[in-house]
Amino acid sequence: MIYDAYFPPLADFIQQRIVDGLLCREFIALDNLSDLPVKIGAGANPGVILRGDSFMELGNPEAGSAAIMLYTDNISLINNGKITLLGSDIPEAAGASLPFGQIILIGGKILQPSDYDRLQAAGIVSDFVEGYMVRSMSGCVWSRVSKDAAAKGFDFTTLGQALMALYRQNCSEIEAIEIVFVTANAAAVRELNGIAAQIQKITREMVRENWAIRGYDIDCANDCSSCGDKIVCDDIREVLKIRTEASKEQGANG
């Protein structure tokens, strides 16, 4: 599939960090979500976690952040349930603001390139994990872990399992999922950003094609001048104008 070529560079990225001597830990996600120390689901984290309530912070724009989501129909490329952490875990980082990389690898035999939007939406977990505030930006994840969640034992295994469960919940075609978290240093996250930028080019092209099939040009930047349907829209605008004026006149008379 479209992203398959990027699985080896990501594997190389992880391998190179290990060769460089970075702390690398691997976990396997548990099947039973009731063992998680925090609640997950809609409204599990209702609202903002202020700085004073935060145990630690990940990926703010000044610290650096990279977020990658790849999917494939070749399930053999995914180590299902594996969570890899390069760098410090959450309980080891009290008060810290760490750079953050998040790689989500998804496999499903019937996944299609056109599933991108659905998978992207499945990963929006803004208020779904108790004690975890995510304010995502494109290609980045800025998040905070609350002191309460940390006290309950919230760590990257918890976060990984929660994300895996939410992805599966939102997209039944997912058969395998693997997550890599990077908190080691800003240079590693920057390198990840370089890979992310290449992937984003492909993604943008794919999203453009997906929308083009539905008759939309998403590269127009709200400039209608080159759009083939401009004449039709101009006519509709004219109708709207006439209706607005008529309604004003009615109001004045009535």
Partner: protein, 249 residues
């Protein structure tokens, strides 16, 4: 963290003609509400000069205007792509500008160096502030002047407008204009350093009380000492405490 079951936090805007004592009232009202258990409180210093910030003994290193400038300057220099990136990061910088203390937090507006309206930048900023507001049990906004500035720069929702008057005709004219604009229902008036005849208050506007002329407060103000350090027994502090009880927050 915000509690889903709590009632919506009341947003109180303090308005009035320049020089009537909006900042003094805002500072003492915040102190009274916090002492009464309305915590955490969000204070928004919407005055470009930052009067409320210094009145409570704080200093704002990052301001909302600084965040706004970041987006505007990015758009000026880097075009759409740079503006989009700055807009995406805006929420982070608003959160960063928040001064967090035990029981209260403060956002200072600061002053804009880019002349012009820049409505889209204001809209982005307002959206980030409104996200933050949800985490507090009460919000007090010390306005530069009228309610329109709050609606443009801070939030579209204000539950109670308290107009401070000082007995002068101009301050009463301001009260009248704000009442005509918004309707009397959610407006209340406070008299600062003046006893006024209740007949000058527009019909339907609740009159909350008088803050007496106070030498001790004036001295604190002259010396730049935080008004929150005034003793509990101070006459102005006592008067605002009584006023705050009437708000039913």
């Amino acid at each position: 963290m915000a509690d889903m079951n709590k009632k919506t936090a009341p947003i109180i805007a303090v308005c009035g003609k320049g020089g009537v004592g909006k900042t003094v009232f805002s500072a003492l009202l915040a102190r009274a509400l916090a002492a009464a258990g309305v915590q955490p409180l969000l204070l928004v210093d919407a005055d470009p000069v930052g009067g409320l910030t210094s009145a409570i003994g704080e200093r704002a290193v990052e301001t909302l205007s600084g965040v706004r400038e970041r987006v505007i300057n990015a758009a000026k220099v880097g075009g759409v792509a740079a503006a989009a990136q700055a807009a995406e990061q805006l929420e982070y910088f608003v959160f960063k500008a928040l001064i967090e203390r035990e029981g209260y937090s403060l956002l200072a507006m600061g002053h804009n160096t880019n002349k012009g309206c820049f409505c889209p930048a204001n809209k982005l900023l307002r959206s980030a502030i409104e996200t933050l507001i949800g985490s507090f049990n009460g919000v007090i906004i010390d306005a530069e002047a009228g309610i329109e500035q709050i609606n443009r720069d801070v939030t579209g929702r204000v539950d109670r407008v308290i107009v401070v008057v000082d007995g002068s005709q101009r301050s009463l004219d301001t009260l009248r204009v704000i009442t005509e604009m918004l309707g009397a229902e959610n407006i209340a008036a406070v008299a600062n350093r003046a006893v006024i005849d209740s007949s000058v208050i527009p019909v339907g506007v609740e009159f909350l009380g008088v803050i007496p002329e106070d030498e001790e407060l004036k001295q604190y103000d002259r010396e730049g000492r935080p008004l929150w350090q005034l003793p509990e027994t101070n006459a102005a502090v006592t008067a605002v405490r009584v006023i705050s009880n009437k708000l039913g927050v």
